[in-house]
């Protein structure tokens, strides 16, 4: 049944301190809402447990993208549209720009935010594998101060994170050290726009003298959290890409992932597709590495 708006509060402090003070005063009672593309879906379906919402859409610190010589810092409420339009993001972090382009349709890209995708903590979040391979770092903020955490340690289980009830994600920092890498992104879903992924992949790699110098692979929707394939990467690094290596990589992927059956797909299908996507990314890496 649809929610009754009279039963919900929405407060719009318009500044960071105001939002943090509210979160600190009544921890766990307030739910931040930015573009609303996740929160409002639950609300409309009558499934939103929180009755108190804080509007963080119009907080300037959360909406800026700052460029430094060694990194870029993306405010947590930057939209997918802002990411797609940003020159440095498009040029140096194409996996993130590509993921932004297949998250929802244009209307949802105009409202959906990178911080929201992280905080919502779905293992199917389209932008999350890219953040893993780009070594993203998060700055979390509360009235107690700021702390930094590597994104790879942010998710602790299905829909579980290290974010404290009084904290917001302030920004997402990406080191500018991957522009020379070859990159490959792929989403498999009922359709690219709107539909949530059955499996999605982000891959970065460098080829030197015909061998893999370094490869970074991450998958969405194959485990309780977005998953970096460390074991498969280790097995691949230093090797020459060929049919036997790809066959070994397929086996390693199947061992590393923990997919489940759900409304969108089955564990069996996801295993097959995850293995196919890694094989495809290695094949492309080999071809592009040879041409580079």
């Amino acid at each position: 049944m649809r929610s009754d708006p009279a039963e919900y509060r929405l407060v719009s402090p318009g500044n960071l301190q105001g939002a943090l003070s509210l979160l600190a005063a009544e921890p766990a009672q307030w739910l931040p809402i930015a573009g609303g593309t996740d929160v409002m879906v639950l609300y409309s379906a009558g499934k939103l447990p929180n009755r108190n919402l804080i509007d963080i859409w119009n907080i300037p610190e959360l909406r800026q993208i700052e460029v430094f010589p060694d990194r870029i810092r993306i405010g947590a409420a930057c939209t997918y549209t802002a990411l797609r339009r940003h020159e440095i993001v498009s040029r140096e972090f194409p996996l993130l720009a590509t993921a932004a382009s297949w998250t929802g349709g244009i209307a949802n890209q105009n409202r959906g935010t990178l911080g929201g995708n992280i905080a919502n903590a779905s293992p199917a979040g389209d932008s999350l594998p890219a953040l893993l391979v780009y070594d993203a770092e998060l700055t979390l903020i509360s009235v107690r101060g700021e702390r930094r955490t590597a994104y790879r340690t942010f998710h602790t289980g299905y829909k579980q994170t290290v974010l404290a009830p009084d904290e917001l994600i302030l920004n997402i920092s990406l080191p500018r050290q991957f522009s020379a890498y070859l990159s490959h992104a792929r989403k498999v879903g009922a359709r690219n726009a709107q539909a949530i992924s059955k499996v999605c992949l982000a891959a970065l790699g460098q080829i030197a003298n015909g061998k893999i110098r370094e490869v970074r692979l991450a998958l969405g929707s194959v485990a309780p959290v977005p998953l970096r394939l460390h074991e498969t990467e280790q097995m691949l690094n230093g090797q020459e890409i060929g049919p036997s290596l790809i066959a070994a990589a397929r086996k390693s992927v199947m061992k590393e992932i923990r997919p489940i059956d759900d409304i969108r797909s089955t564990a069996r299908y996801r295993s097959a597709v995850a293995s196919n996507l890694v094989a495809e990314s290695l094949t492309r890496l080999a071809v592009e590495g040879a041409n580079a």
């Binding site: 509060r9 719009s12 573009g35 409002m40 209307a107």
Partner: protein
């Protein structure tokens, strides 16, 4: 965590809708879609899925295409909103209406306001879109009648017609 028993009072909001200033009382979590339809009588804004999947409730909010079912009305306070009713005088409207008619781009009509607004949002930024651009620009708008090809064709034709003017 048990939610606090809370209630919100209606409060006064003010925004621009289709060029005119509107003041009204609303609960902050009322959906912009419901306020536009029920309080302001703008029934060109359609409700399809109510969960941001279908694009029937598309409006322009400060020039950005959004799904009004996903916007708490408090987030539209002081904003400028354009619905299909406000598009009549837009320079793209005549070419779009003509091409939708000629190509069979509208059947039952529920998706049409959203399709038109998504097309305007696209063509304002990209006056000569390729088919892939049109497909992407309208990917958030579902149509259960046409099969889409007539709509893509209509948008391409409107763009050509606009360029020829």
């Amino acid at each position: 965590m048990s939610p606090l028993p809370v209630a919100s009072a209606k409060y006064e909001l003010s925004f621009t809708v289709n060029g005119g200033t509107k003041k009204l009382l609303a609960h902050p979590m009322e959906r912009l879609l419901d306020v536009l339809r029920n309080d302001l009588g703008l029934t060109g804004v359609k409700e399809g899925c109510g969960e941001g999947e279908c694009g029937s409730c598309s409006v322009l909010l400060d020039g950005m295409l959004v799904n009004s079912c996903l916007i708490p009305v408090a987030q539209a306070n002081t904003a400028s909103i354009v619905t299909i009713e406000g598009m009549a005088a837009h320079a793209l409207m005549k070419p779009l209406q003509e091409s939708f008619l000629e190509c069979g781009g509208a059947q039952c009509g529920i998706c049409t306001p959203g399709m038109i607004l998504a097309a305007v949002h696209l063509l304002e930024k990209n006056p000569e879109p390729a088919l892939t651009d049109i497909r992407e620009g309208l990917a958030g708008n579902l149509c259960r009648c046409t099969g889409y090809m007539q709509i893509f064709e209509a948008v391409a034709k409107a763009a050509r017609r606009r360029a020829a003017q």
